[in-house]
Subunit: 323 residues, 2 copies
């Protein structure tokens, strides 16, 4: 089985999810339409719906019920993307915060809120209160993760644990919840649901670490943005944290200086070269692999079959970051 | 009965709500703690919890159930206040958007998101799916209202209908939902719940119109902020809309010029004097009274008693804006 086979097998149901995603953000409001269409066209891998559907195979699979989890989870992901863009965008026009920029930001903020609320309206169709509890608690944790990330911008004293805690909330949690809700909605048993959630969590951790490594070692063409974007924004990721602890004095001083310079910082090229030559990259990749192995191990306790093979394949692809 | 008697009668239960509000925004995170404490201390009239509790008297009153609506509704109100402050605040530091200001805004945005998600976590305790549907649909509409308001900033061509539609979403809806959910949670019958919701809606409309008039005619001491703040921000409210349609040519030209000047606009004094002398004020007050009368009329269909008298009193006070 190849990765494309997973999408092929789920094609009909993913199309239905796609259609309902499109309908859910239909609006007579121009700003909403604009940003929603933009997001929908951006497409993406729809990882969260895929997780919901595959997890749903471990219970009584019914797309007409699962869609009430799959669509909201993708919408929540979209809402976080919209909020991530808020203000960042204005910063590029620094010193000239025009009325328009100011309003665009406000519109983006409320558009995020709207997509978020829309997600909840759809999820509200599910009667199981456990689903709502998992969802709202998850969102709360995600918000805390975002706040933590802001707090830790340019902070050269953060630890590996801080980082892991942060990416758990920022990324792994929503994937964990996607798998969990797929299981819950389809009425899978408690142990299965627990394993599905853990699988999503481990895959999410591996995914984010791999993504953060790629941001440092990838080239602009591959990434679709300049390499080192995280560091440029002051987002200190795992390889850099490793270097700050274990690198040469010169490496550490260079990075600390760069982070301290904040908005005044110069070009990143030299630091990027240092990071790429450091042991932080391989060390981070090893940690990502450990999470992947945990994901694969937890799958062993689930019934064999196409769904399990699909989840295994996704985990392996996340490791190779070809997903 | 006086207004203070309502609070006296509900004192024990409002204290419980207050305590749970405090606990719900407890957090180990400094930025959250800071902004939450600030909001809690700002206090406010807790109108939404008061509506929930009074509406709850029309069914089987149980504070241990009603609190799961009262606390979230106040939290949602708080979350909208936090989001209202985002970016506006940065604008006061125009041209100098420092990293700190940028981050403060992001933190405020995610703090709003967090309080919002926290509200949903608490509401998730309620098993009735109708409650979740009402709540999430309401929030969606509120977001659209905020976006509409931004779209209509400085727009001199908006109509009375645009305005009414906007304040419905911005203010009246959450009050309507508060009354509705109080009824729903306490198991009141459908007709009672319908009347409660309509009452909240009418009172909310009257409240917002009165508030908007007061922003134009009040003095700084009374308002706690300079008079005319709405207009200064480009928020065109009912008396001004009336003048734009029915005022003298000179009045209209002055206002249009002021709105068009945007960020370059000069002092408001002269325009404020014109508005205060216009018929727009009395006309708006009359419309507020009409909404109040509708609120009072809809109450007539509810069973007599202390709860009904309390709702009547609140409506009357909203009219006098002494609430």
């Amino acid at each position: 089985m190849k990765l494309s086979d997973i999408y092929k097998n789920l094609r009909k149901d993913l199309r239905l999810v796609e259609r309902e995603l499109g309908e859910s953000v239909q609006s007579e409001y121009d700003p909403l339409k604009h940003s929603s269409v933009h997001l929908l066209e951006a497409g993406g891998k729809r990882m969260r719906p895929v997780f919901v559907l595959l997890a749903g195979k471990f219970g009584e699979y019914d797309i007409q019920r699962l869609k009430y989890a799959a669509v909201p989870l993708e919408l929540i992901h979209m809402a976080t993307l919209v909020h991530d863009d808020v203000i960042d965008d204005a910063a590029t026009r620094r010193g000239q915060e025009t009325v328009k920029a100011k309003w665009d930001n406000r519109v983006a903020m409320y558009t995020g809120d709207y997509i978020f609320a829309r997600a909840l309206t759809i999820a509200a169709t599910i009667e199981n209160p456990k689903v709502h509890q998992v969802l709202s608690k998850g969102i709360m944790q995600m918000c805390l993760g975002e706040i933590e990330q802001i707090k830790d911008f340019n902070n050269h004293q953060q630890t590996v644990l801080t980082y892991l805690h942060r990416i758990k909330r920022k990324t792994a949690l929503l994937m964990a919840i996607s798998c969990q809700l797929g299981g819950l909605v389809s009425g899978a048993d408690t142990e299965t649901v627990r394993r599905l959630r853990l699988y999503g969590y481990f895959v999410g951790m591996a995914f984010q670490i791999t993504d953060d490594v790629l941001d440092l070692v990838g080239d602009e063409k591959e990434l679709g943005k300049p390499a080192g974007s995280d560091l440029r924004q002051g987002n200190v990721t795992l390889p850099v944290i490793y270097m700050l602890k274990n690198g040469s004095n010169e490496d550490r001083e260079e990075i600390i200086r760069y982070l301290k310079d904040g908005d005044e910082r110069g070009p990143l090229d030299e630091i990027l070269t240092r990071v790429r030559q450091s042991e932080g990259i391989a060390w981070s990749q090893t940690l990502a692999e450990r999470y992947l192995n945990k994901a694969l191990a937890i799958l062993e306790g689930l019934p064999k079959g196409e769904a399990r093979s699909s989840l295994r394949l996704i985990a392996e692809f996340v490791g190779g970051r070809s997903f």
